[in-house]
Point group: C2
Chain length 411, copies 2
């Protein structure tokens, strides 16, 4: 049970918001100690409505990379907001930001900005189909690319026609990818791929280089476009598109979440091959050209270039991973820790390779009650504002929770 003030807010919300809350920030299926509402955020910490502080391992589900209320990023936002934000045309910040992104991301020759990750995915879909007028798009089964009618993971309100031309393959499975490409025949518009497998409820998987290379080859053979959906992982794996270390460059990449450290902006980047197609589509939004979030993104990209944030989040993630593995071993817990250590998915398993939802939930619940906001089935995020002391405190909480959990016959 979350606190009294949180419960009071939830009761009010139930009256004026369908289901009390919606989307990925609804706590409906989260453990009982997960609060629904927060009233303060600073650096690596969040405070709920009842005043409880958490070391936040969700980082806003991704946007918080350098710490909440970052002084330099927020000052850039505020300065631009005082001059001009959403207006009848864009500001010079838009040109500067497109230049900054294309200067940083190897495959990118151009950029288009939007607000939601889903906007960027939808623009990628339109661009891919406009490229040669083809329809078929390959996507990994279970991958999340947004919440529009064509991609939302829950089918309520969608119609079959919304996904008439999608063909699904198994992530990291070259044969499955090739079979899907065969099915598309000469109507292949694009292959969509997450940079690594970061689906909910199942272990994460790093990309097999052979799979990534084959996706590139198939797109080249068939003159289709390759998209890497870097909305969730972008800037957390590399200071470039997240497949660069594999030697694989896509034609399109989508970005969002952390690119302005929490301010609302997302982007579609592309190469010259895809430029003409991107110039043909009609996409827009009331606030897409607003300057303040772009100024914040410019400042975020400066921090990306000039700080060791990436190396620090990896080191902190490794420290957490090693500490948790040691605790799980000593407590006899079947703990699964997958994906990049700075974007870990941490679940209690059932001994047969599947998530034990009840025990994962109990583990996360204990962590939240102890002051470390953990998620039972979604990948988490290490923030650059976290310290070794935060990780060590988290491990202390984990030690207590694990001891209690392992002593129970069932939960």
């Amino acid at each position: 049970m979350s606190g009294k003030l949180d419960e009071a807010l939830k009761a009010r919300a139930a009256k004026v918001i369908p289901g009390g809350m919606y989307g990925h920030q609804s706590v409906a299926i989260l453990p009982p100690h997960a609060p629904q509402f927060f009233v303060r955020a600073k650096g690596a910490y969040l405070w709920d409505a009842d005043g409880n502080r958490y070391i936040d391992f969700m980082c806003g589900y991704g946007p918080n990379l350098f710490g909440y209320c970052h002084p330099e990023v927020d000052a850039a936002y505020a300065k631009q907001m005082a001059e001009i934000d959403a207006a009848t045309g864009p500001t010079p910040r838009m040109v500067e930001l497109a230049e900054a992104f294309t200067g940083m991301v190897s495959h990118a020759d151009w950029a288009m900005f939007c607000k939601n990750g889903t906007d960027a995915s939808s623009m990628a879909l339109l661009t891919a189909r406009a490229y040669k007028g083809r329809k078929k798009v390959l996507m990994a089964s279970g991958a999340y690319h947004g919440a529009a009618p064509w991609c939302t993971p829950i089918p309520a309100g969608t119609v079959e026609d919304d996904r008439a031309h999608f063909i699904y393959y198994q992530y990291n499975d070259v044969k499955s990818l090739e079979e899907a490409a065969d099915k598309a025949g000469d109507d292949l518009a694009a292959i969509f791929a997450s940079p690594f497998k970061h689906d909910v409820f199942v272990d994460q998987e790093l990309p097999d280089p052979a799979y990534a290379r084959r996706a590139r080859e198939l797109c080249d053979e068939k003159d289709a476009l390759l998209l890497v959906d870097d909305i969730r992982a972008g800037l957390r794996i590399e200071r470039d598109c997240s497949w660069t270390h594999l030697g694989v460059q896509p034609d399109l990449s989508t970005w969002g979440k952390a690119i302005a450290n929490g301010h609302p902006i997302s982007a579609l980047l592309g190469n010259d091959r895809a430029r003409e197609a991107a110039s043909k589509i009609y996409v827009t939004g009331s606030f897409w050209f607003a300057g303040a979030a772009m100024a914040a993104s410019l400042e975020t990209l400066r921090l990306i270039r000039e700080t060791d944030y990436l190396e620090r989040t990896v080191a902190l993630g490794d420290r957490l991973r090693e500490g948790l593995a040691s605790i799980a071993k000593s407590c006899g817990l079947d703990l699964s820790q997958t994906g990049p250590s700075q974007m870990p998915l941490i679940m209690i398993m059932d001994g047969e390779g599947h998530c034990d939802f009840k025990r994962s939930s109990a583990f996360a619940d204990g962590m939240i009650a102890g002051g470390a906001y953990f998620h039972p089935f979604h990948n988490m995020f290490i923030g650059a504002a976290m310290t070794e002391a935060d990780i060590d405190r988290t491990l202390e909480i984990a030690n207590d929770v694990s001891a209690k959990l392992s002593s129970r016959v069932s939960v």
Copy 2:
């Protein structure tokens, strides 16, 4: 030709943004004096990159209602941003804002918040189809409901399947609406309607009450949902949904643009009939739960309730309309002024009831060159920060432009 600094920015943009710009804020088909980039906004005024000042009759294509950089609204944004904005859960502002909207909009029992107008439209589509599991949606031909694959006005990159179950009718035409409803048979999910006809390139039309009432009746007869798309017109016609003065209440209404005076937020509102359907759909966005834009919207709604902004924008719009009509008459210009006077569409016509695109463009070009930002084929907006002096100065500019335009044999 816009100024030197604007041209230099456009040259840089051409390298790193497809087509140099995209969406509704591209000046590609606007008159030559329309600048692409702006560097300052305050109250009713905008300044372009070359330092030219404009009385801005586009109001950011809608978001600017109370004036750019409004001190109270922006202070509310900044205060919330310093406490908590986008985080791992929403803030209490979300509950307060849902309460404020449902308290203000007669038909609304609940609210869901998002970022783009298109998000709200897409959520309305999903909710309508989730309501009874039906597919067909009626829309007015030529109406703008957003720029996602299912609704973008330019087909590049879309597939026929995206609109497989839409049936189009003529706005204000009861017979056409009834025929469309007949076509839907027992598979009617919803009727979508703009509060008035505000399509580009053609005269605006106020809603015929008989048409609005018939839309409501058809939805009642067939147990379908009626949507009023108030994204563009919301809060500019009434302090309520824009069909309230007709005595017609929809089940769903979509909002965006001006609801936070320029800060990025949009909304779907609905009644209890649609609540369960809305709770079934999965829609979300990285920044949808962020508190700062909600705090700005709360402050904007306070100004809506407590000021005479609406009466003032109507009076200023009437002053502009009457002044322009008088000028057009004395110059012999076939000037069309349609729609509500606070959201006027102003075009030069060809004498046969159609927009003369060249002369409309020349008229808007002269207005822009003279310091009043006019649009040649999209409705404009009167802002509450405008004064009678701004309107009178605009009429002086219009007088000069009209005199020159009427003296030319052709343009």
